[in-house]
Symmetry: C2
Subunit: 460 residues, 2 copies
């Protein structure tokens, strides 16, 4: 937990954006896996954590902009609970740690809200929030996203987007654990293991730090499937292994990195060629990051480098600028260059990308560019990922070939010889500084030579 | 997944208990941690798994007892999803694997239920189920538990309580992974580590098997706090370490064991004395398990052995039968001897202990006995845990001493010298056979000598 003053200042800054009404903050409850009391690990709502710091279930808060009241709602433990759960701090003592002197029981919240006529809330992403909003405000779950307060969303997004020094320190802790997760995997994965064995080792590193994973691990020989959480394959010589994993600190800040390495000691020549095209795009995109840059331009630079590099091996053809303008690179790079990161690994994704990553501007609808989560000018204090990738996705190749999509820029004969290549990416976490950028965390091997040096340990 | 015939037979057996109406089965959805798409690992509802086998989100099913129709509701993937998620089997092909030929889209379910007048459902434990039931049937979340169908609950409980050979094989796989988790911890934990380091190592074993944890790990030097998921302490020579952890197989079957070992190479004399009292109760309770035994009698035997053993060291006094009848043992053993186990680690806890563990009989209200989750006659095919413990809970000691609770059976002066002892238990998983019982899984060290032999590895 940060100092009391931090939370007081965060709320003061938020309040300056409003004149009247009630800001409602719903903390997260526990979630039962297969019955109510068999819970997943607890995860507090990040906005609640940001303004109220309490990392435990059963809490709600309001800021009454008319009276100036800041109130935390929650229930003290009974003696019965203390026997089973140990001594627990009182609601009042938890509130005091974040500079709040008014607390009420959870029952009192509904009564307060019933009397109010301008309650502003954020879009709910947990069904328990939907039930609460229905109960408190009488708004049906299907209408809640639409009735969320855009000024509230925008104020939270603008404030949380700019990280303070103490937040950056916390994010860097997460990134350093994340680096260790990836380095360990590079040294641990051996032909004949299952993907699950590698994922389990990576999870161990995150958990032994006292935190959690910041998102479900991707640990796969099928890197071309972008959202792949299957870990059932045995890994074999000659394959590429893609790991996308990150740690979350006990305070809730995220790291998020990707690495790709050969299951064998070394990359094949074909793997090395594609890997180096992607790494060139990765490094060039990072190099240009600074305040005032529009992140879409870094994305498009990476797209051009990928298209050009693939052209040198005969996969693509034609004018690169025209190809990228037409989205032809998106056959190989159908997703975005990166995203904001903080208390959430995709920071504030629940508030809506249009507000958080685009400052309210509409997103492109073009295939590829529409998946770019961040499309605005960068400011000092932003923390973001850079993660271009090159993927050979058989289903997408077949679809484009059938439809003739971008056929003037693509050599499908050559591309089809790489249908089984899988996919690869590197990903690092970057802070935008006053005059440029800084890659967060200890360095992780990313050149071919450095990755192959790490792989030697696995075969010792 | 089991054979098609297994699922067909399970549904046939269930249908025999009813004449008319619709049985509704709600599968579990994904749960977002801090935004919708950052999900916890997926866990299907166990009753849905039992009758319909599909281990994926977004599915519902009904059995129409009047028409005989069995229908699975779900939506096929779009080409967009396939690009991101890989090839996915169709709803029809998933349904076919469990012997169901009728499938409809998820939208169709609401329309079907709107026309029905006797829809039976199970108590919801996920808020997403509450929203669905409200949407489908117009029953407010606060009234749903009460309006759940008791005949449906009883029919599912009686059927799932008796495990088949193929289920027992699956449970034994989970138990064997669980044994490995505990043996590894005994050989791994060293003074100076954090509890989180030991928990992380234990989690690695569960995850590398391709499954999950069956419940959140308890790995603590404060075993006296029964529901303790804090892992932040550094472990020190002289302390006791209590591990309660289990694996879940990819099909969803659970193991659940507890072990207690010294952080040092050996138990102190005081630790050994208390440990051996508890282990004697544990072994004696297991020895008596067989069909026809009322599990409450095994619980009470364990309580008497604990009370007697503690009397030999001067913690308790007076007539043992009277003491146990008055619940005096519950100062040290405030919980139950064990619980049923299967697809859920506390099997079907969501259906209600009164129905699952008590066959509809009311539970005792006495402190201690009221926490016994299983209180019925045992039948062949039941799988259950045995896990007596001895805990020195300072808050409970203070409460009882202040109130004079059971003071005629307790030597508080002696007890108070053990306020910092913490707590201990052993737990194993037992199958009730035709004529007795079988402890499931490979043997795990539980005698003092065997545990100390495992601990030697940690100091090599």
């Amino acid at each position: 937990m940060f100092s009391k003053q931090t939370y007081i200042q965060r709320r003061e800054e938020l309040k300056k954006k409003f004149n009247s009404g009630i800001l409602l903050f719903l903390g997260n409850d526990e979630t039962g896996m297969n019955y109510a009391d068999n819970t997943y690990h607890y995860r507090q709502d990040s906005t609640f954590l940001y303004y109220f710091g309490i990392n435990a279930p059963g809490f709600y808060a309001i800021i009454d902009l008319d009276s100036g009241d800041e109130i935390i709602f929650g229930d003290d433990f009974t003696i019965d609970s203390i026997v089973w759960m140990g001594d627990m701090p009182s609601v009042a003592s938890l509130a005091e740690k974040v500079g709040i002197s008014k607390t009420e029981t959870s029952d009192a919240l509904k009564k307060r809200l019933a009397k109010a006529d301008n309650v502003m809330f954020l879009p709910p992403y947990r069904p328990e929030h939907q039930i609460k909003l229905f109960d408190f405000l009488g708004i049906h779950p299907s209408e809640q996203a639409q009735k969320a307060s855009i000024p509230f969303i925008m104020a939270v997004a603008e404030q949380r987007n700019v990280k303070t020094h103490e937040e950056i320190d916390e994010i860097e802790k997460a990134v350093n654990t994340t680096v260790l997760m990836h380095r360990t995997a590079m040294r641990y994965a051996k032909p004949g293991m299952t993907e699950a064995q590698v994922a389990a080792k990576v999870a161990q590193i995150a958990l032994e730090s006292g935190g959690q994973l910041s998102f479900p691990i991707i640990a796969t020989i099928n890197g071309q499937t972008l959202h792949n959480h299957f870990h059932g394959n045995t890994i074999r010589e000659g394959q590429l292994f893609l790991l996308d994993a990150g740690a979350e600190t006990p305070m809730g800040y995220a790291g998020d990195m990707s690495s790709t390495f050969p299951v064998s000691k070394q990359f094949t020549p074909e793997q090395r060629d594609i890997y180096e095209v992607c790494l060139k795009a990765h490094n060039a995109a990072i190099d240009m990051l600074k305040p005032g840059l529009h992140f879409r331009d870094a994305h498009l630079l990476a797209a051009r480098i990928i298209f050009d590099g693939l052209k040198s091996f005969g996969f693509t053809k034609g004018n690169t600028d025209d190809a990228v303008a037409n989205g032809a690179h998106a056959l190989f790079f159908p997703c975005g260059l990166g995203h904001l990161m903080g208390l959430d690994v995709h920071d504030m994704e629940n508030l809506g990308e249009q507000w958080v990553g685009y400052g309210g501007e509409p997103k492109s609808t073009q295939f590829g560019l529409k998946s770019l989560r961040l499309g605005r000018e960068l400011k000092p204090g932003y923390v973001l990922t850079v993660e271009p990738g090159i993927y050979f996705i058989p289903q997408l190749i077949d679809l484009w070939q059938k439809n003739g999509t971008n056929k003037e820029f693509l050599n499908f004969d050559k591309i089809n010889t790489y249908r089984d290549f899988s996919g690869l990416r590197n990903e690092e976490d970057i802070l935008i500084t006053q005059d440029g950028h800084r890659i967060l965390g200890e360095p992780l091997a990313k050149s071919v030579a450095d990755v192959e040096a790490e792989r030697k340990y696995a075969f010792e």
